[in-house]
C-alpha cells in the first residue's frame, strides 16, 4: 500500500537539507538527510531512499532556498536587457549604492546589467499620468529586432511614471511576450514599497538576473523528483509564506518560516533573536520585516533582518601585523570549499569547528596545513591543542559580536554548530537568556515541511 508523504527542502548555496513526513501524521518523520551537493547530490540521496522504500508516494514538496546567494558577488544579468524611457537610461545607475567606499578605494557590486543591454525608447508619461509622448509602433518593432540580435532572453521594462499610467508598459510587455521574450514588469511583481521607482526597477532587474540561477535550482529539484512527483507539486515559498515559484522572494522565505514555526510551536518567546550558527552562514536573525538591502542598494523585496557576522564558516587565517594568527575578512567559497569537505586546500573556520569529526588521514592533513601557519605566529601555541584553542577563539569572537548586536533578552541558538557548542556559549554570554533549538530535532527542512502541511490544510478548509 502506498504511503503518502510531504517533503520539505532547504537548499542553500552548496548544502541541502531534506525531510519527508507522513501526510497522514506529520509528526512522523520518515526520512531526513543533509548533504553537501557537490559530493552527494540531492537526487542520489532521494533516489537511494525511494529504492529502499518503494511504498512511498510523494505528494507536495515545499521549498525554501538560499541558492542564489552564491551568485551575488558575480556579474549578473548577461542576457538581461532593459527597455527604459529614452533619456532615463542611467536613472538606475545614478541611484546605485556602493558596498564600501573610502577616499582611495571603492568596492562595487558587479554591474547588474551592462550598458549595451539598456535600450531607450521614445515615450513619456507625466507625473499626473498624462501621455506626453506616445509610443511609436515602428520603433518598438525595430527594438525587438535589436533585442533578438543581442540574443537577449529576459527583458525588464522600466518606464518613467508607469505607475501613474501603465498603458505604454502594457503594450511593450505584450509585444515582447508575443515575441517569446521572458518579460519582467516591475508593477506586476509582488514587490513592496512601490513608493519610489529606482528600488522597484532594481528589484525587478535582480529578479530577472537571478532567474537563470533559480531555473538551475528548479532543474536540480525537478531532476531529483523525476518520476516521483509532478512539477506542479513543487511549491516555492515566498517571504509571505505564499507560493510564488522559483523567484527572488523564495530567497527570503526561510527567515519567515523559522520564526513562524518556532513561535507558533511555543519553542521560543515571540520577541527573540536567532543566533544562527549554520553550515554556510553565521548570522543574527531578527523578526523585523525590512526592505532587502541588496549589494546594489535598497530594494523593494521584503525580507526579515539578517546581520551577517564578521566571522563566516569559510573565512580562513593569516599572520597579521601583530604577528598573530588572525581570521581573514574575506570569505572563500564553498566550491572547492573547506579542507574537511575534501575538495579545498585552505583551512577555514569550518574546518576548525569540524576537526573532531574527521577521519584520521584528513585530520592529519588539516592539522599539518594549519600548524604550518600557526607555528610562524609570535604567540605560543600547542601543536596538540591548536584546534581546541582556535575553536575557543572563534566562539569567543562570535559571542562578543552577538553580545553587542542583539538587544533582545532571549537569544535562540540554532544551526549545525549550535548543539555542540551550546554549553560553552551559554557560559560566555552574559546578561541574556540563551535558548538552544537543536537542528538534529528541528531541522530547516522539517520546519518547511510542517509550515507547508499547515498551509495545505488551510487551503483544504
Amino acid at each position: 500500500m502506498k504511503k503518502n508523504v510531504i517533503v520539505g527542502i532547504f537548499y542553500g548555496e552548496s548544502f541541502y537539507d531534506i525531510t519527508l513526513l507522513s501526510e497522514a501524521d506529520p509528526s512522523q518523520t520518515l526520512y531526513t538527510e543533509r548533504g553537501y551537493a557537490p559530493r552527494f547530490p540531492l537526487k542520489n540521496a532521494l533516489q537511494s531512499f525511494i529504492q529502499k522504500n518503494p511504498e512511498i508516494s510523494i505528494g507536495k514538496v515545499f521549498i525554501a532556498s538560499r541558492f542564489v546567494e552564491k551568485i551575488f558577488s558575480y556579474k549578473l544579468g548577461g542576457s538581461v536587457a532593459q527597455i527604459v524611457t529614452k533619456g532615463f537610461e542611467k536613472w538606475l545607475t545614478l541611484h546605485q549604492k556602493t558596498k564600501f567606499e573610502s577616499d582611495f578605494k571603492i568596492e562595487v557590486a558587479p554591474d547588474l546589467s551592462s550598458d549595451e543591454m539598456i535600450f531607450g525608447i521614445n515615450e513619456k508619461i507625466s507625473s499626473e499620468g498624462k501621455v506626453l509622448e506616445p509610443l511609436n509602433a515602428n520603433e518598438l518593432e525595430s527594438l525587438v529586432e535589436q533585442l533578438k540580435q543581442k540574443q537577449a532572453k529576459r527583458i525588464c521594462v522600466h518606464l518613467i511614471n508607469a505607475d501613474k499610467n501603465n498603458s505604454h508598459l502594457k503594450v511593450i510587455c505584450n509585444v515582447l511576450t508575443a515575441q517569446g521574450f521572458e518579460v519582467f514588469n516591475p508593477l506586476a511583481q509582488n514587490f513592496e514599497n512601490k513608493l519610489n521607482d529606482y528600488p522597484l526597477w532594481r528589484t525587478n532587474l535582480i529578479e530577472a538576473s537571478t532567474q537563470g540561477t533559480f531555473k538551475e535550482l528548479h532543474e536540480i529539484i525537478k531532476e531529483a523528483f523525476k518520476d516521483l512527483c509532478s512539477e506542479e507539486n513543487l511549491n516555492y515559498f515566498d517571504c509571505d509564506l505564499n507560493f510564488s515559484g522559483p523567484k527572488l522572494s523564495n530567497h527570503f522565505a526561510f527567515e519567515k518560516i523559522i520564526f513562524t514555526y518556532l513561535v507558533k510551536n511555543r519553542l521560543i518567546p515571540e520577541h527573540s533573536d536567532i543566533f544562527h550558527l549554520g553550515n554556510e552562514n553565521f548570522s543574527l536573525l531578527s523578526p523585523e520585516a525590512i526592505s532587502w538591502q541588496s549589494p546594489w542598494g535598497i530594494t523593494s523585496a521584503k525580507s526579515f533582518k539578517r546581520h551577517d557576522l564578521k566571522i563566516q564558516p569559510t573565512n580562513s587565517f593569516y599572520l597579521n601585523s601583530f604577528e598573530e594568527i588572525e581570521i581573514t575578512k574575506s570569505e572563500e567559497t564553498f566550491e572547492p570549499g573547506p579542507m574537511s569537505l575534501e575538495r579545498g586546500r585552505i583551512p577555514c573556520i569550518y574546518d576548525i569547528l569540524n576537526s573532531e569529526n574527521l577521519n584520521k588521514d584528513l585530520h592529519k592533513k588539516l592539522k599539518d596545513s594549519f600548524w604550518a601557519l600557526v607555528r610562524s605566529s609570535q604567540t605560543k601555541h600547542s601543536e596538540l591543542q591548536t584546534f581546541d584553542e582556535f575553536r575557543t577563539l572563534i566562539l569567543d569572537r562570535l559571542i562578543c559580536e552577538i553580545q553587542f548586536l542583539s538587544n533582545k533578552e532571549t537569544l535562540v541558538l540554532y544551526g549545525k554548530w549550535a548543539e555542540k557548542n551550546y554549553l560553552y556559549l551559554k557560559k560566555q554570554l552574559s546578561g541574556k537568556n540563551l535558548l538552544l533549538i537543536k537542528e538534529s530535532e528541528v531541522s530547516k527542512s522539517l520546519m518547511i515541511a510542517k509550515i507547508g502541511w499547515d498551509k495545505m490544510n488551510q487551503e483544504h478548509k
Binding site: 558577488s73 558575480y74 533619456g87 532615463f88 562595487v108 605560543k380 600547542s382 577563539l393 553580545q403
Partner: protein, 499 residues
Amino acid sequence: MKLNTQTRWSDFHHLIECLSEPFNSCGFSFLKPDGKCLHVKTSLSQTTLGLMQSPMLIKNFFPLDEDTIYFHNEPSFGCLTYGGIQFIFLQSGFLFCVQEKFDFLWNTESKGKPTDPLKIPPFPLIEKGKINDFIFESFKANPNLKSDFSEQLKSTLKKIQLFKQNFSHLTTKYPQFFTDEFTQKYLDYCLDEARFKIRQKVLSQSGYECELTTKETFRVKLATDESGVKIDFQGTSAPQKIGFSDLFTDGVCFHFLSHCYQFSHKMNSATFSLFKIIKPQHSLVAAKQLSPLVLAENYGVPILKTALHSCLWNIYGKNQTAPHNYFQPIMQFQKESTDFLNMKINNGRSFYFMNNYQQDRGYYLKNNSDGHDFPGMNEFSNFGIEVVSCEEFNSSDVNALSQQPPSNAWKLVLKSSQNLKFILFPEIIAKILTKDKNLSERTHMVIELIPNPKNMNYSPANFTNGTPITSEMNELKTEWVWEKNNFLIIRSGISSKII
C-alpha cells in the same frame, strides 16, 4: 579570549571593533581612563578628533560619573557635523562618545543661513540614573524639531544603556584586556605599525595651492619622514566667508591620511601622534569665528581632501587612486512652505575600485556617492518637479585611467509645475595655483534656468543654448526664483583630467 594563557592583541582589537556595532550610524570613540583614545570610528572625517577629545573635555568641565549621560551638539566641544549629537558617558572607568545623526530641518532660521536649528550645550540627559524629563518637555515645545525627535533620542539612550551593561560584563569576563599596562601596550603596537606603514611608502613632500571663489587663498604642504606626517597650512588666508576649527582640520587630515596609509581601522591617540599639523593662527583652517556646520561640512571637507589627495598623487604617482574634486554641489528646492527637497550631486570622478571577488579592478568614474542623496522620481513629482530627462553626454575630457567609456558626465532637465525657490551651494575652488597641469584641467558644473518657450517639445537636445546662472559666483550660497513651467538644466562637472 585567552589562548594558552596568553593575551593576544588581535583579540583585543576584535573586541574594540565589536564595541561600535550597536552605533553604526555616525561615530564612536572609546577612551582609557587617562583620556587616551583607544579607538575611534566614524564615517565623517571632520568628526574624528572631536570624537577623540570631547569625552575628556566633558569630564574635565562637568561632573561626569557612571550614572550620568551627557549630550550636546556644541562644535567647540567637538561635535562637528550638521545634525549630529554626541552622547558622552563613563563605564567601568572607561570613557565613551557616541555620535548619532538626527534629521534636523535645514534653513529654519529666518535670516536664511543654514545652521543648526537647535543648540544643545553639554547637559545631562540622564542624571543619577534618571532621565531628565525637563529636556524632553522642552523638545516637544520646539516647533523646529520633527515630532519623532524625542523618540529617536530615547531609542539612542536605550542602546547606550544596554551597551553599558554589556561592556561591564566584558570587563569582568576579560579583565586582562582592561588594565592600564595592556591598553598602553596596545597603543604602542598600533604606533609602531602605523609608523612602519608610513615608512613603507616613499618619503617625500608636495604642495597644493588654490584660490577660492570667496577670494581666500588655501595652501598646504604635505611631507613624510621617519617621524611621521607633517601637514603645513602656512600661507592660508584668514577666513572671509568660510572658516573651520582646529579639531575640524585635524580630523579630516588624520582620517583621510590614515586611509591612505592603511591604518584607518587603528585610528587612536597613538597613531594620531604621528601627525604634525601646522595651522597659522586665525587662518581659515583654524578659525575663531566658525562657519555654520553645514557650510564647514560642504566646503571644508572637500577642500582639505582635494588638496591632500593632490599632494599624495604628486608624491606617489599613478599607483594611487587619482585625485579629483571632492566637492559635491548641493541643491535645494523650496516650496513656499518650509518644505525642502535636497539633492547632492557629484562631479564625475575617478575612483580606484575592485569588486568583491577582485575579478575586476581599475578606475571607475562615479557620479553619485550614494543613491540616498539623489531623489527618486516620486520625490521630484511630489515636489511639483517634472524630470524631463536624465541623460549622459559624452565629454571630450576622456580620463586616460578609466576603463569605462568616457560618458561620465550627465545632464538633468527639470521642469517646475509651481513657483519654487532654487538654492545652490556651488563650487568653491576657483583656480588651482599649483603648477601641475595634471590637476588643472576640469570642468565645473553648469546650471541653466530657461523660461519656457512656446511649443518647445521635450527633447533634451533642445536645451543647449541657455545662459548659465552659475558663472562668476562668489557666494557660498545663492538663491533663484524658479518660476512655474520654466526649465532647469544641470550639467555635471568632471574632475581633473589625468594623463
